[in-house]
Symmetry: C2
Subunit: 188 residues, 2 copies
DNA sequence: GCAACTGATTACAGGTTCTGCAATCACTGT
DNA sequence: ACAGTGATTGCAGAACCTGTAATCAGTTGC
């Protein structure tokens, strides 16, 4: 018998999402989150760097995964093709979590501080991609630009995926975004 | 004779930059900034929404200006051309403030919280541009994508402008970024 | 069997950020 | 004179976050 029930960070995340949904992000204190999870405020900060981070579980490992996958992508792919393929490979994972993503999006949209953190995560993703591209021999500023453009397309696809009343798959929106990118690029 | 010496926000900004440079962002309290400016902590918060905002003066009006200029850009320009032209129009303004920009960059680079705010400002800029493009009749998702790509190029240009040991003008780096964008787009 | 170790949790104290509210006070217009 | 304006201030307090040390069930080494 374990001394402490497992899944502490998960319990904190669930409690946080419940409370944020019920009464909003600002009107919820960290102490309340911890209490609902059967823990104390101090324990919350043992698992999350700050109050916002509880809404971004696994983001850092996702970013690391993208960077890693890009490192082993076939060399004959162009940089943008490689990134696009890596994103596409992870699209099923997202589709299976649409409900959770929708609830999370609601909370994020309601508070600027949380969107700020989201942009920070996207910037970190772009930095990781740029790093991987440089590792593939892409020179600057092409690496940074390609990474930024890719993340823009990714983010745009994610937004439209969640806003889509027809509930199309993330993969469909991803391809639509990248295709639109090619189309508009032709008019430059 | 005015009751209070003028330029309160400017004095707070100068005091903040001095202190952040001397002992770092984290080791400087808002009370210390206010005291150095001959004011109180409460007055600081009358002028800035939070501690970080003191390093982003006039950003919101800059964003509004970009949006406004885009609204009156000639219709025969393609969306990306229009944005590029608006950015170029403001490049002299930046060149005249290179020193201040360098000091500010040093402070920003040293603390993640500040970079987070910077990304939030860039995201706000992208949103404003997307809005202006939609006003020009650009449909979604092209508007959002073009705006995102533009801001990526802008940000990349700004970074390289400040990192350039040859001290090239911002306009040169801006054009280099946009040209590189065209070049890489051809390999997609 | 027993002691030392481990590692998650907890208790506590305290600094900092940020907000709400009411008061001050020189200047302004009537 | 005299009320109005508006920037500043004082004060109280909630919430966020951190450092440090204590607790204690389970595990390991002997």
């Amino acid at each position: 018998m374990a001394r402490w029930p497992g899944g502490t960070p998960e319990r904190l995340q669930e409690a946080a999402i419940e409370l944020f949904t019920e009464r909003g992000y600002e009107r919820t204190t960290v102490a309340e989150i911890a209490t609902r999870a059967g823990l104390t405020e101090r324990t919350f900060y043992n698992h999350f760097a700050d109050k916002r981070e509880v809404l971004f579980p696994g983001q850092d490992s996702f970013i690391a995964g993208v960077q890693d996958a890009l490192g082993r992508a076939p060399t004959e792919q162009s940089p943008l093709e490689a990134v696009r393929a890596v994103f596409t490979a992870g699209s099923d994972w997202l589709d299976q979590r649409r409900n959770a993503a929708e609830r999370r999006r609601h909370i994020l949209d309601a508070h600027p501080d949380l969107r700020e953190r989201e942009w920070a995560k996207l910037a970190a993703l772009a930095a990781a991609i740029a790093d991987a591209l440089r590792g593939r021999g892409v020179p600057e500023p092409a690496a940074t630009l390609t990474a930024g453009v890719s993340v823009t397309a990714y983010h745009c696809a994610a937004a439209r995926w969640l806003a889509d009343p027809q509930h199309g798959t993330f993969g469909q929106h991803l391809h639509a975004s990248f295709d639109e990118l090619h189309r508009t690029a032709r008019n430059w």
